[in-house]
């Protein structure tokens, strides 16, 4: 079908609407840009650049291993290169690149105008860029991380990695983690709240389902990693002893934390790829995907099961046999949803009339390679086999089959599929086929022999090997294959350049695809969906005659959003399940705040690296400046929002200004989920390190001050509740008094908490127990500081813009965070002070 033709709107209104969404121009405009399309371009380009860098590092490794006893690289350089290869591919390429694609495409796929928190989009990008550059800057000083992308302790402890190499890893990764978690929050709220009317959960495109599950997984997987990297860095700085056996710490705790992140990470990378494959398959098979419901369930089930596999990375560490059985069971069970997806795609191709474009060829390559990787994965999930193959090249072969086959090939399929939408020009099909052919053949040439070298006993992470062990030929073949694979990727770059210069115009829907992004022009405008589309099918461009509302009430509601609002950025909010229009969201516009905040984070982390108080202080000041820029009430925008179009009837949609209507409220819930996950990780670490029942002799005492420090946040939360009610009733005096009370009680609780800690007797640098106690208390203090900052912002709104309804959202968020602070305070108190008393 063709996309709907929108009835004309007055040219001046349309022009004003477009101007509202325009990306800031000029050099300085770069630092203010928040639009998902512009940021998406940069994100993808940066991600691809890191892919090339990571690939080059991999190439260097293969040259070194091409012949036995090679001296091309020395051991130290090889360690740095394999660490950065893994780190780059995992943290700087795959996840950011899929998030970049999602940033760009999700609003188009969902039929909305932008992501709900564009400033968070920009912050994620800048944090990612700075984190990546920070990591790579270590090469210039000859101190690149060298302890492996997994940073196992004690190897990564300061005793065995005494330089600042692993500090670069720890700190650089922290910045990238902020980016990943920020982007995840963005995606969750976007998919849950901002869809085209009628796009119920059972009509959600599979790419959106995949990104929703991925984003939730990022929240639960990356947060423990953030906690772990912070613990490791504190250990390295000599402030704590989480992983130091001589102080009661446990190196295995790191492995648990890392793999609680690390195994879901595999699926965090694979699930978006599966979403891409679903779109490509159904488009080029010319028919709907076989069993949409089972495909959705497979994605969701995979997301859950992936969190029950982490111990299968630790089968050789002395885990109890029965416990290993639990994780073997999950490792086998996850093959079921993955198998369902594979059969679903094959059945769709079987039942359809496949058009073998390059994109679909990459999917075919994916199906073959990923299936092989999946089968070796099941083999490795079986304990006896794993005990033999652990830490050999068999494992290297397995995870490259999974990651390149299961992620890189689908990403290339996605690029060939969506680049014409992004650039407006088609890629060269002949070059594309060569690109695919070289990558497919040479991938197998490179990585299949690694199975053999692994079974012959070649250990991974070694910079060379002796001659005469039968490893020469498979290694030489692998090196030749790696170089051929790189040639294939080079052809892709050539193809993109060719496409920019000579590619045919793509038109809006070159593949005759079914989803909403293809209803917009190629490339899409910054002001997307002048008329918001209406969905009545899973395949709107295949099964609908137009994208217009056919119900009078819905039509009237959407008419209010036809090239409107023209003077501020707004888009539709829908109900979670039914996708009914419920409100109009305000989408924040350009701002220097995200860039400033990212610079501030970089300064803070660089200050930590070089242990400079001045740099850390500078970073803190910059954070404050960025926060003010971010939250400062802009009254011009407030006035514009008050000028709502007058043509709406009684069913007029409200502005999403407070409570559960506001996107910010949902974003805050996601943020609190991150905090709750972090607290859970710390509580689990406390018990793992021997805290809890029977430790009364070590527990901090006396109790009076901690009890009061726990009660004060509860009082603060009550005061925040009063203030929030005051904002609803527009009683400014109550609002100011309530928030002032919240601030004072929180600050008092924080001060008392810090004062009451027995610093002289419970020294974290000497005791893992004290480290875990201080970790939980420190978490509570950090949450209190966050609350103080948010309450300060709510006060700012109450004082500067008391009539602006957007202040309601800030107040609501402060209320939520205050409630969380009270609850987490009670929980920390119970764990730290009460559980030791239990027998």
């Amino acid at each position: 079908m063709a996309a709907s033709v929108a009835p004309p709107v007055p040219p001046e209104t349309l022009e004003q609407f477009k101007q509202t969404w325009v990306t800031p121009r000029g050099f300085l405009g770069i630092f203010r840009t928040v639009n998902n399309i512009s940021i998406g371009h940069w994100y993808m380009a940066t991600g691809f650049a890191f892919f090339v860098l990571g690939g080059l590092l991999g190439g260097l490794m293969r040259i070194q291993l091409g012949t036995p006893e090679n001296t091309f690289l020395d051991a130290e350089t090889y360690n740095q290169i394999f660490t950065m290869h893994g780190t780059t591919m995992m943290f700087l390429f795959v996840i950011p690149f899929t998030e970049a694609i999602a940033n760009y495409l999700l609003p188009l796929v969902l039929g909305t105008r932008d992501l709900p928190f564009p400033r968070l989009t920009a912050l994620s990008y800048w944090s990612y860029l700075f984190g990546g550059l920070f990591l790579y800057s270590s090469f210039f000083f000859g101190v690149a991380p060298d302890g492996g992308w997994f940073a196992y302790v004690p190897l990564s402890n300061v005793e065995y990695s005494p330089g600042i190499n692993m500090d670069f890893w720890d700190i650089g990764l922290s910045v990238a983690e902020i980016a990943a978690i920020g982007a995840a929050a963005e995606m969750i709220v976007s998919i849950v709240r901002m869809r085209a009317p009628g796009m119920t959960l059972n009509r959600l495109p599979l790419f959106a389902w995949a990104m929703l599950v991925t984003a939730v997984m990022i929240i639960f997987a990356f947060t423990p990693l953030s906690v772990g990297t912070a613990m490791l860095e504190f250990d390295r700085k000599g402030l704590t002893a989480f992983f130091k056996p001589e102080a009661g710490g446990k190196p295995l705790l790191w492995q648990h934390i890392f793999w609680v992140f690390g195994h879901p990470e595999v699926y965090i990378m694979f699930i978006p790829a599966a979403g891409i494959v679903s779109h490509v398959v159904q488009t080029f098979a010319r028919r709907p995907l076989v069993s949409y419901t089972l495909m959705v369930l497979s994605i969701v089930a995979t997301g859950f099961l992936s969190f029950g596999l982490w111990v299968h990375h630790m089968f050789t560490t002395g885990i109890a046999p029965v416990a290993m059985g639990f994780f073997t069971a999950a490792s086998l069970a996850i093959a079921i949803p993955n198998g369902i997806q594979i059969f679903g795609w094959i059945a769709t191709l079987w039942a359809g009339r496949p058009v073998w474009r390059t994109s679909l060829l990459f999917v075919l390559g994916f199906l073959v390679i990923f299936t092989i990787g999946g089968i070796t994965g099941v083999m490795l999930g079986v304990v006896p086999f794993d005990l033999q193959a652990h830490d050999t090249y068999f494992l290297v072969a397995h995870f490259h089959y999974v990651l390149i086959g299961g992620v890189v090939f689908p990403l290339f399929a996605g690029l060939y599929y969506w680049l014409p939408k992004i650039t407006g020009r088609l890629l060269n099909e002949r070059l594309g086929r060569w690109n695919f052919g070289l990558m497919f053949v040479f991938f197998n040439v490179a990585f299949f022999p690694m199975h053999i070298s692994g079974l012959l006993g070649m250990p991974r992470r070694v910079y060379t090997y002796p001659a005469g062990l039968g490893l020469e030929l498979p290694n030489l073949i692998s090196t030749i294959g790696a170089l051929g694979f790189a040639t294939g990727i080079f052809l892709f770059v050539v193809n993109v350049i060719w496409s920019f210069r000579r590619g045919e115009p793509a038109g809006s829907n070159p593949w005759e695809a079914d989803s909403l992004e293809w209803s917009e022009t190629s490339p899409p405008p910054r002001a997307q969906f002048v008329r918001l589309p209406v969905v009545r099918s899973r395949h709107p461009l295949w099964e609908q005659t137009d994208l217009l509302a056919d119900e009078p009430r819905l039509a009237r509601q959407l008419e209010e959003l036809h090239a409107q609002p023209a003077s501020w950025r707004g888009s539709l909010v829908v109900s979670v399940i039914d996708a009914r229009p419920i409100a109009i969201a305000h989408i924040p516009g350009p701002s220097y705040a995200p860039f400033t905040m990212a610079v501030a984070f970089l300064a803070l982390f660089a200050g930590l690296l070089v242990e400079s108080t001045a740099v850390i202080a500078g970073g803190t000041v910059l954070v404050a400046v960025a926060l003010l820029l971010w939250f400062w009430p802009q009254q011009s925008e407030s006035r514009a929002m008050a000028e709502r179009p007058a043509n709406a009837g009684p069913e007029r949609l409200p502005l999403a200004m407070g409570g559960a209507l506001a996107n910010g409220w949902w974003g805050t819930l996601v943020f609190l989920t991150v905090l709750a996950t972090a607290l859970t990780a710390m509580i689990a670490s406390y018990f793992y390190l021997g805290g809890g029942p029977g430790t009364a002799a070590q527990a901090p005492r006396p109790l009076a001050a901690p009890v009061l420090a726990t009660i004060l946040p509860i009082v603060a939360a009550a005061a925040a509740g009063i203030a929030v009610r005051g904002t609803r009733n527009r009683r400014q005096g109550v609002v100011r008094a309530g928030f002032a009370g919240t601030w004072l009680f929180s600050a008092a609780g924080l001060w008392l908490g810090i004062q009451s800690y027995p610093w002289s007797t419970l020294q974290p640098e000497l005791s893992a127990y004290a480290s875990s106690v201080l970790g939980m208390l420190g978490f509570q203090w950090l949450v209190s500081v966050i609350l103080l900052v948010v309450v300060t912002m709510a006060m700012l709104w109450a004082l500067r813009a008391p009539e602006d309804r957007r202040g309601q959202a800030v107040a609501d968020n402060a209320g939520l965070i205050a409630a969380f602070t009270a609850v987490s305070g009670v929980l920390v108190f119970l764990v730290v002070y009460v559980t030791p008393l239990l027998a």
Partner: protein, 127 residues
């Protein structure tokens, strides 16, 4: 706008729908955590009841997961006859999707629970 629906049929709320949709996987996660905790306790203290504890947890969690599936099946039967083909915002269709999905999830995750719970029957506990 809404489908023609039996006014006697009670509405299935969003919370109940998500509970049916995601209940079984959550129970599976609880089973894994509880089982792993019991085994760790057994191997690190004088207590040696993990084998029985895991079996009890497995039976309870598998039954709970199947119970969620049964609720989903009831919900599915309730809504499937009320779907209106072609209705733009038919609330029954999405409810049917979520309840039927809950049934399928329950079967998968009950199986995963039983698979994990069989370990103590065949494997040594700690050594």
């Amino acid at each position: 706008m809404t489908a023609s629906r039996d006014p006697e049929t009670p509405e299935i709320g969003a919370g109940a729908l998500f509970a049916v949709f995601l209940g079984a996987p959550v129970i599976w996660a609880i089973h894994l955590a509880v089982s792993y905790f019991l085994v760790t306790l057994d191997c690190n203290t004088d207590w040696d009841g993990a084998r029985a504890g895991v079996v009890v947890a497995t039976v309870a969690c598998a039954a709970a997961a199947l119970g969620v599936g049964a609720l989903g099946w009831r919900g599915w039967k309730r809504v499937r006859g009320q779907m209106t083909p072609g209705e733009l915002l038919d609330p029954m269709r999405i409810r049917g999707f979520l309840t039927l999905s809950g049934v399928l999830m329950a079967v998968l995750f009950a199986g995963a629970i039983v698979l994990a719970g069989m370990s103590p029957l065949f494997l040594p506990m700690c050594s």
